[in-house]
């Protein structure tokens, strides 16, 4: 019996991109459904009643919510191909630690970059760059966060790359000038089809952020 896999998503979501990348890495066929966040589908509300948020991975009718949990689930179920987590428990702990760091730090800091102005925005940019520099430090001279192979930490962070254009434009700064190694890493990831096909177009993201700013009166 063939697996039925559905992804409920919203195109600019960095979290949705993580699941898309994992599915692509494993070569899993799935049905993609774009949600209108102002008019969430009954299926979304049924599959994620606690948070009512995307992304939701639905495997044979059963929902997996929270992007990193879904990525680990995909890795465990489709374990024959393209491992996302290493097999050694200590290396797995490192991968999870850094994916968790991305979750704790990047989203909020990045949001402050485009959602604020003046002094507040300057402070936000500084904090955001500091966080990226910590990540850059952890990457070091490795091709990927996990070493030779693309893995969980890379997947947790790469989606933000297509948002960099929006951050840089609204924040009037260059991320590459501050974190060249991280940008080199991002471009390396983008050479993978699973990544380039899963990330949103930076201009689509920019337009989306502009729309949010207008709606929230944050221009």
């Amino acid at each position: 019996m063939a697996d039925e896999v559905i992804l409920l998503n919203f195109c600019p979501s960095v979290f949705g991109m993580r699941i898309r990348i994992a599915l692509a890495e494993k070569g899993i066929e799935y049905e993609y459904r774009e949600e209108d966040l102002k008019n969430k589908s009954p299926l979304l509300l049924k599959m994620n009643p606690v948070h009512k948020k995307i992304p939701v991975l639905i495997h044979n009718g059963k929902p997996v919510c929270e992007s990193l949990i879904a990525v680990e689930y995909i890795d465990e179920v489709w374990k024959e191909k393209a491992p996302i987590l290493p097999s050694d428990p200590y290396q797995r702990a490192q991968a999870r630690f850094w994916a968790d760091y991305v979750d704790k730090k990047v989203y909020a800091a990045a949001r402050n970059v485009w959602a604020t102005k003046g002094e507040e925005q300057e402070a936000a940019k500084k904090e955001f760059i500091e966080i990226l520099k910590v990540l850059e430090g952890e990457l070091g001279d490795k091709p990927y966060f996990g070493g030779e192979t693309f893995g969980l930490t890379d997947i947790s962070l790469i989606g933000y790359y297509c948002w960099f254009y929006a951050y840089e434009t609204f924040g009037n700064f260059s991320i590459e000038s501050e974190c060249p190694k991280l940008i080199a890493w991002a471009k390396r990831c983008m050479e993978k089809e699973s990544v380039s096909k899963s990330l949103a177009d930076p201009h689509t993201v920019y337009d989306f952020v502009l729309g949010v700013k207008k709606r929230l009166g944050l221009e």
């Binding site: 997996v64 689930y73 428990p89 200590y90 702990a93 630690f97 968790d100």
Partner: protein, 225 residues
């Protein structure tokens, strides 16, 4: 056999989670009590990113962040499993652990604020507990089913730390009439021998909460007191 060390503080439910998991698996370890006002060089070396407890050190390899540590313990010592075998059930368990993490600011606000801010936190906290009871626990004895698992361990703070916080703040969240299943879970959880034998002294904890609460109230902007 490589040495296992745990860096923690007696009052923290996060260090206690790590201790419970190790003891449930019969893993021998050395415990090092940290002074958070004077953190040891070792702690700063083992957790340079956050400089926080708990940290587990296995051999000379440090693991930080309690959720990550619990997963590491589960995978390194698979005896007496604390997560389900089935991948889907595991994803569900991880969901509830993450839910608990996400909602901790609500409970922090409950303990650290007053007035309107606290009222808002109380309302949110009750909603969180209701969701946890209905959708997380349901009619099971433990979140893990018949035996305790990582989800129970992650919510262990509700079973022992919350009552001290409630007493100091003067507001009860965990009423048996409104949260009967969670209430029963607390009783069952504390009867598990490893848990029962590894809880901070309630009197000491209460005194600790009193001092903490006084400090938080003092530091509130005057119109919030």
């Amino acid at each position: 056999m490589e040495e296992v060390k745990v860096y923690g503080v007696w009052a923290s439910p996060h260090s206690q989670k790590v201790i419970w998991a190790l003891k449930l698996k019969g893993v021998k370890f050395d415990y090092i009590e940290e002074d958070l006002h004077n953190k040891s060089q070792k702690l700063l070396q083992y957790n340079p990113v956050y400089k926080k407890i708990p940290v587990l050190v296995h051999g000379e390899k440090p693991v930080a962040e309690s959720v990550v540590i619990l997963d590491y313990i589960e995978e390194t010592w698979p005896e007496n499993p604390l997560l389900p075998k089935d991948a889907y059930e595991r994803a569900v368990a991880r969901f509830w652990i993450q839910f608990g993490q996400e909602k901790s600011p609500t409970f922090h606000a409950f303990f650290r604020t007053a007035g309107e801010q606290q009222e808002k936190a109380v309302k949110e906290a009750l909603e969180v507990l209701k969701i946890l009871e209905e959708k997380g626990l349901g009619d099971k004895k433990f979140f893990g089913g018949n035996n305790i698992g990582l989800v129970d361990i992650s919510f262990g703070w509700l079973a022992h730390w919350l009552e001290g916080m409630e007493e100091v703040v003067g507001i009860k969240l965990m009423e048996p009439s409104t949260l009967p299943r969670l209430h029963k879970w607390i009783k069952n959880f504390k009867e598990v021998p490893v848990i029962q034998e590894n809880l901070p002294d309630p009197e000491k904890l209460l005194a600790y909460f009193k001092v903490l609460r006084e400090k938080f109230v003092r530091d509130l902007p005057s119109n919030d007191q």
